[in-house]
C-alpha cells in the first residue's frame, strides 16, 4: 500500500499487467522512452523492454487499427491516445471495427483492447485538450466506457478493463491526475496526499466494470456524476446544504442501473452533472433511464447540469466549466417540491 496520485496508480496498473501477462503491450504517441506527455507510462519501457511499451507515429487511426489486429491475434493491447480530443481519426476503427468484430463474426474474432486517453478540462487546454467525448462512445453498441475518479479506482478499473475481452475506452480525468479538484478555480492546488482514495495497493487488484460507487450517502436527492465531476459534486452538495446522495458511476457502459434506480427511488430527486456539453450528452440518457424507471418516485423534475453547448473556450474556461455553484442551485431547485 502506498499513496499514489492518479498518474502513479495508472502506471502501477500497467506495470502489474505488463509483468503478469506477456500478451499485454502498450503503444502510442510519446509513450515509450519519454514515458508519455503526462508521465503515465514513465519507466515502463525501461523496465519491461522496448517491445512491451513503444512509440508510434502520429496516427490515431493507425494506432487503433494495429491494436485491433493484434487483439484478433491473441494479444491484449493497451494503446494510448494522447488526448481524447485526438481520438476522432480512430473513430471509424472503434465504431466499425472494434465494437462490431465479435458480433459480425459470430465470436470468431474479437478485440480485447483498452484504449486509454486523458479527457476533460480545467487545465487551460482550450478546445483541443479539454473535451469530454464519453457520450459518443456510450452510443456505440459494443464499446465499454470507463471513467475513474480516484487513484484507487483508476488502478482497479484499468486492470479490469485490460482483462476484459471486449474493447474498453478508458477515459482519464486529467484534471485529477495530480490531485482532487472541486471545481473552484484559483485555490491552492491540492495533491492526493492524505486522501483515503489515494491509498493504493502495489499489487494486482480489480474494481469491477459496471459497479457504481456511492461516494456520499444521502436521503433527499441523488446526484449522478463521474470523473472530475464527482469531486465538483461533493463541493456542490456541501455548498447546497442538501442531504444528497452522490453516485460515482465509474463506468457509463456497462451502466450500474440498479444502484441508480435504488438511490433515486429512495430520494425522489435526481440531478445529473457532467462536464461535456449538455445537448445529446450522456445526461440525456441518464435522465431518460431515471424517468422510465423511477417516474412514480420523483418529487421534482430531473435536472441536468453540464457544459454549455459551445466548443470548449480557452479564455472562458471557468464560465464554461460546470462548477459546484451551479449544482448547488440545481439542488436548491429540486428541493422546492417537497
Amino acid at each position: 500500500m502506498a499513496v499514489m496520485n492518479m498518474i502513479q496508480a495508472i502506471n502501477s496498473a500497467l506495470d502489474v499487467k505488463l509483468a503478469d501477462d506477456p500478451a499485454t503491450l502498450i503503444f502510442g504517441e510519446d509513450v515509450g522512452y519519454f514515458g508519455g506527455v503526462f508521465r503515465v507510462t514513465d519507466g515502463l519501457q525501461q523496465k519491461h523492454g522496448i517491445k512491451r511499451c513503444f512509440d508510434t507515429p502520429i496516427s490515431e487511426g493507425g494506432i487503433i487499427a494495429t491494436a485491433i489486429g493484434m487483439g484478433a491475434n491473441g494479444l491484449r493491447p493497451i494503446p494510448e491516445i494522447q488526448f481524447a480530443d485526438y481520438i476522432l481519426p480512430a473513430f471509424d476503427q472503434l465504431v466499425s471495427e472494434a465494437a462490431r468484430l465479435r458480433y459480425r463474426s459470430n465470436g470468431e474474432f474479437w478485440a480485447p483492447i483498452t484504449v486509454r486517453s486523458p479527457y476533460g478540462g480545467g487545465i487551460f487546454g482550450g478546445q483541443t485538450h479539454s473535451q469530454s467525448p464519453e457520450a459518443i462512445f456510450a452510443h456505440i453498441t459494443g464499446l465499454k466506457t470507463v471513467i475513474p475518479s480516484t487513484p484507487y479506482d483508476a488502478k482497479g478499473l484499468l486492470i479490469s478493463a485490460i482483462e476484459d475481452d471486449d474493447p474498453v475506452i478508458f477515459l482519464e480525468p486529467k484534471r485529477l491526475y495530480n490531485g482532487p479538484f472541486n471545481g473552484v478555480q484559483g485555490q491552492p492546488l491540492k495533491t492526493w496526499e492524505g486522501f483515503a482514495e489515494a491509498q493504493v495497493p502495489d499489487h494486482h487488484f480489480t474494481v469491477p466494470l459496471g459497479q457504481a460507487a456511492i461516494a456520499r450517502e444521502g436521503a433527499d436527492a441523488t446526484v449522478l456524476a463521474y470523473g472530475t465531476m464527482v469531486h465538483v459534486a461533493k463541493a456542490g452538495i456541501e455548498e447546497s446544504g442538501v442531504d444528497a446522495e452522490l453516485i460515482d458511476l465509474r463506468s457509463i457502459v456497462p451502466l450500474d442501473i440498479e444502484t441508480i434506480t435504488a438511490s433515486v427511488s429512495k430520494t425522489g430527486r435526481c440531478v445529473i452533472l457532467h462536464e461535456a456539453s449538455s445537448f445529446g450528452g450522456f445526461g440525456g440518457e441518464l435522465a431518460a433511464q431515471v424517468q422510465e424507471r423511477c417516474f412514480w418516485a420523483l418529487k421534482s423534475p430531473i435536472e441536468r447540469i453540464a457544459g454549455w453547448d459551445t466548443p470548449y473556450p480557452h479564455a472562458f474556461e471557468w464560465d464554461y466549466f460546470p462548477g459546484p455553484g451551479r449544482l448547488a442551485k440545481a439542488l436548491a431547485r429540486v428541493m422546492e417540491n417537497r
Binding site: G62, G69, G142
Partner: protein
C-alpha cells in the same frame, strides 16, 4: 468568378475522366507494360533500396518462356488452381441468379479476378491470415470451405454460420484463414499489419495478407497501414486489387495517371511489386516472394495486382451506365481461367474434354449444395432464432440486451 470563367487559365481545375464512357471506344493503351520484357526476380531478402523499380514493371509468367518469376509449381497444383477458379466463377454466376430470383438481398461477383482470391489461398499456409476484400470468395472455395455454408450465409437462413447478422458474402472463417469481412472498405487493412506484428512479437513465422481495392487506396487506412508496416517491419503482404473500377469511378480518380499503385510503396520504405493479376502463376509467385521476405524478417511488401472487374460492382449496379459495354473485351491481360487452362493444355496436362467434364462435375456439386441450402430456406423463409440477435454484442450480455430481448418476447 464562376467555373465557366476558368478555361485557358494555367490553373484550370483538372478533373480526370476515363478513356471512354458508354458509346465510346474502349481502350487500355494508358496501362503501360512491355509485352515481351522479362522482369528479373530479385532475392526476397534484397534490401529495399535496390527494389524501387519493380513497382513500375509488371511481373508476368504465363505466355513467355523461361520467365524468372515462374514459381515452378506442379501440374497437380495448377489443376487445383484452375478448378478453384472455375468453381468460383460458377458459384458466383449461380448466386447472382439466385439474387435475381429473389432468394437473397445482395450479391457480388469477382468474375475476371479469380486468380487473386485463389492463388494466395493455395500458396499461403494454414496459420497465415487473409484480411480479404469482398471480391475474394475464391480464397474460401480454394480451401474447400463448404459451399452449402456459403450459401446458407448468403441466404441468412437458420444454418447461416454468422447467424443472420451480416450482408451476403461478408463471411468470416477463422479456421480457413479468412478474417471477418465488413461493408466498410479498407478498415481491415491496418488489422493485417497489427496481426502480423503480433505474430512477430511471439517470434512466429505466420504472415498476414491484407487486401484492398485500388479505389480504397485513397483512404487514410491504406497509408496508416503502410506507415506502420514499414516502421515496425511487419511480416505482412499488403496487396491492391486494381480492377480498374470502384463502382462507377475509374482508377484515375484514385491515383493520378502516369504512375502506378505499386510505386506508392517507395515512400514507405517497403518494396512494391506490380503484377499481372490475371496470371495465376504470377500472382502465386509474387505472394510467395513476399511471404519469403516476411518470414525472413525483412518486413512487408506492397503488391499491385492488375486486373479487370468484368462484372458489375454488385447486384445493385449496372456498369453499362458508366463504361462501354465491350470494355472487358479490350482488357489486355485476358481472363485468368482461360489463360491457366490454355497453359495446362499446352503442357499436355489438360484438355477441352477434361475441362468440360470438370465444369459438369462442379455444376452438379453446386446444384446439390444449393439444393441443401434451399431445403433450409432462402432469405425470409428461414432465419436463426430471433433471440440470437441479442447475442455477441459483448462476451457477456449486459442488462440492456437482456431487457430488450424480454421486451421483444423472445
Amino acid at each position: 468568378m464562376t467555373a465557366r470563367d476558368a478555361p485557358g487559365s494555367p490553373t484550370d481545375l483538372h478533373v480526370p475522366e476515363p478513356v471512354a464512357r458508354p458509346g465510346g471506344h474502349a481502350s487500355f493503351d494508358h496501362i503501360s507494360f512491355d509485352e515481351g520484357a522479362a522482369i528479373d526476380r530479385p532475392s526476397p531478402e534484397a534490401p529495399e533500396t535496390g527494389l524501387r523499380d519493380y513497382g513500375y514493371g509488371l511481373v508476368r509468367v504465363l505466355g513467355g518462356a523461361g520467365r524468372a518469376w515462374d514459381p515452378g509449381i506442379d501440374a497437380e497444383m495448377l489443376r487445383r488452381g484452375l478448378r478453384a477458379m472455375a468453381r468460383t466463377r460458377l458459384f458466383e454466376d449461380r448466386m447472382f441468379r439466385a439474387h435475381r430470383q429473389g432468394k437473397t438481398s445482395f450479391f457480388m461477383k469477382s468474375t475476371g479476378e479469380e486468380a487473386i482470391g485463389v492463388a494466395p489461398s493455395l500458396m499461403l499456409g494454414a496459420r497465415d491470415m487473409c484480411f480479404p476484400t469482398y471480391r475474394m470468395q475464391g480464397w474460401l472455395i480454394a480451401r474447400d470451405y463448404p459451399l452449402e455454408m456459403m450459401i446458407n450465409q448468403i441466404y441468412s437462413n437458420e444454418k447461416d454460420p454468422l447467424r443472420g447478422r451480416q450482408l451476403p458474402i461478408l463471411y468470416s472463417a477463422r479456421d480457413y484463414g479468412f478474417y471477418s469481412l465488413s461493408g466498410n472498405v479498407g478498415s481491415r487493412f491496418g488489422h493485417a499489419v497489427g496481426w502480423a506484428m503480433a505474430s512477430a512479437y511471439r517470434g512466429e513465422d505466420h504472415v498476414a495478407l491484407g487486401m484492398i481495392g485500388e479505389g480504397t487506396t485513397a483512404e487514410g487506412d491504406f497509408h496508416e497501414a503502410l506507415t506502420f508496416a514499414g516502421i515496425y517491419r511487419a511480416p505482412a503482404i499488403l496487396a491492391i486489387n486494381n480492377n480498374q473500377w470502384a463502382i462507377s469511378t475509374f482508377s484515375g480518380i484514385a491515383t493520378p495517371a502516369g504512375t502506378t499503385f505499386a510505386s506508392k510503396a517507395i515512400g514507405y520504405g517497403i518494396p512494391g511489386l506490380r503484377v499481372d493479376g490475371n496470371d495465376f502463376l504470377a500472382v502465386w509467385a509474387a505472394i510467395e516472394w513476399a511471404a519469403q521476405r516476411a518470414r525472413a524478417g525483412k518486413g512487408a511488401t506492397l503488391i499491385e495486382f492488375l486486373t479487370y472487374r468484368a462484372a458489375g460492382h454488385s447486384t445493385s449496379d449496372d456498369p453499362t451506365r458508366y463504361r462501354p459495354a465491350d470494355e472487358a473485351g479490350h482488357w489486355p491481360l485476358g481472363d485468368p481461367v482461360e489463360r491457366l487452362k490454355a497453359h495446362l493444355v499446352e503442357l499436355g496436362e489438360w484438355s477441352e474434354q477434361r475441362h468440360t467434364q470438370m465444369v459438369a462435375e462442379l455444376t452438379d456439386d453446386l446444384r446439390s449444395a444449393q439444393r441443401a441450402a434451399e431445403a433450409v430456406g432462402t432469405l425470409g423463409q428461414s432465419k436463426p432464432p430471433v433471440a440470437e440477435m441479442f447475442d455477441g454484442v459483448f462476451k457477456e450480455p449486459d442488462w440492456r440486451v437482456i431487457e430488450q430481448r424480454r421486451e421483444l418476447g423472445v
